[in-house]
């Protein structure tokens, strides 16, 4: 069976993701080697941290080219939390506007400019994820379950068809996106108990 690769770009919660994927029966590699990445069955872009710091790491390691190759190859790529935010055109996070990978058109903005001031930011905790669209990356069994979120910024895809799940927090926060072979989730599936395991299991084992 082919490996699942976790992209190693110096930030991100690799340890937990690695253990969860192994427990699901996957062969997992943490790597930044292009040939390993492009011969895997799935690539995951983990994420804890800031958008601008993460993008700096990716660029200095020339991993933006590797990610382009993965996109062209058609291998499913999943961005988690900041990993999802990196997929977009740009983010407000950082001292200047931080450019992203540009794989999903849209911007990443601070929650406080969208949610009511009575709601606390960051958005930390368990929130219900709603996905009535029956997308293959977010099937019925995941609809209406709780996932763990910890973020201060939210993604706004230009093409609303790419939004496959939302979570309500004053406004509908984009919880999951999909475009071609690129996927992103704002929550942490590796920390979301059974719901998270089911999401990862579906991403890894279903034909998508």
């Amino acid at each position: 069976m082919k490996s699942i690769c976790i992209l190693d770009y110096g930030v991100g919660n690799k340890g937990s993701l690695f253990r969860i994927l192994e427990s699901l029966g996957c062969t997992v590699k943490i790597t930044r080697n292009i040939s390993e990445l492009c011969s895997s069955s799935r690539v995951i872009l983990p994420g804890v941290g800031r958008h601008d710091v993460a993008m700096n790491n990716i660029k200095s390691l020339q991993l933006d080219e590797a990610i382009e190759s993965i996109y062209s190859s058609g291998i499913p790529l999943l961005g988690i939390c900041v990993g999802m935010q990196l997929l977009f055109d740009r983010s407000e996070e950082g001292h200047f506007i931080s450019p992203g990978l540009g794989l999903i058109p849209g911007d990443v903005t601070h929650l406080s400019s969208s949610v009511d001031s009575s709601l606390r930011v960051p958005h930390i905790g368990w929130n219900k994820v709603i996905a009535p669209t029956h997308h293959h990356a977010f099937p019925d069994e995941l609809h209406n379950r709780y996932f763990y979120f910890a973020h201060s910024y939210m993604c706004s895809p230009i093409d609303s068809d790419s939004i496959i799940a939302i979570t309500p927090y004053g406004v509908n926060i984009c919880a999951a996106v999909a475009r071609d072979n690129i996927y992103g989730v704002q929550f942490h599936p590796e920390k979301s108990h059974a719901a998270g395991m089911d999401f990862l299991s579906n991403f890894v084992f279903s034909s998508i």
Partner: protein, 247 residues
């Protein structure tokens, strides 16, 4: 809408899990690894691992020990205890910890907060503030035996928010470990003015009390003794009451 959180606390002193009472008397309750695993199996909302001996020990943080604890844990984890450099925080987060918790460092190294927030984002930087009520002055004050600093609680927390923390854990020191009930007045005074989530810790002894903390304005509660000891003989039994149905 987001669900309030019920956080399980694992308090550690020199690699042993303990409960405390008013930050002074400590009771050994077992091996931290087993307790973290048990809470994880209960599908807790979050685990808060606090090492009370780290700052006093003044030795480098034992990353191997933290790594072992995290390897048993599938729940979101916050870790605190002796963190006072950017490198330590980086290493801890790389192990799989969602959030680092600063306590003494908020008083002696305040510049660390904006530095951590700049690198990891506010959601990964938590301040733990220990509070006691000064009956003579009639107000809440900071309690920190290491530094002895006694600032006004509200001003202090507002400064931390401006510095970039994502969440604050407040502990009522006099109620710690007593199971005498939470300080709802403290929550009601602090919560409305804060734009960030507030976690309350100290004295909770029932699920109804957890609910009343949330009703008073807390975004989450954290319990140590309530989830570790059972009456009438204070036998050690790890239990858990959550607020989210993890199905």
């Amino acid at each position: 809408m987001i669900s309030p959180r019920s956080i399980a606390v694992v308090l550690i002193d020199n690699y042993r899990a303990i409960t405390s009472r008013r930050f002074s008397s400590y009771k050994y309750i077992g091996d931290p690894l087993t307790i973290v695993r048990t809470f994880s199996d209960y599908c807790v909302d979050e685990i808060l691992i606090l090492d009370r001996s780290a700052t006093k020990r003044q030795k480098p943080i034992n990353l191997g020990f933290i790594s072992t604890l995290i390897s048993e844990c599938r729940a979101p984890v916050a870790y605190g205890g002796g963190i006072d450099t950017l490198d330590q925080a980086r290493n801890i987060i790389a192990l799989g910890v969602e959030k680092v918790v600063l306590n003494t460092a908020t008083l002696v190294k305040p510049h660390l907060i904006p530095a951590l927030s700049s690198e990891f984002g506010a959601q990964s930087v938590i301040a733990s503030v220990d509070i006691c009520h000064n009956t003579r002055k009639g107000k809440y004050q900071l309690h920190n035996k290491v530094t002895g600093i006694q600032d006004d609680v509200f001003d202090f927390i507002q400064r931390l928010v401006l510095d970039g923390i994502g969440e604050v854990i407040i502990t009522d020191v006099l109620r710690d470990g007593t199971r005498a009930g939470p300080n709802l007045d403290l929550i009601a005074q602090l919560a409305p003015a804060l734009p960030i989530p507030l976690v309350y810790k100290g004295g909770i002894n029932s699920y109804e009390q957890i609910q009343s903390c949330i009703a008073a304005g807390a975004s989450a509660t954290a319990c140590s003794t309530f989830f570790s000891l059972v009456k009438p003989f204070d036998a050690v039994l790890i239990t858990y009451k959550g607020l989210v149905k993890h199905v």
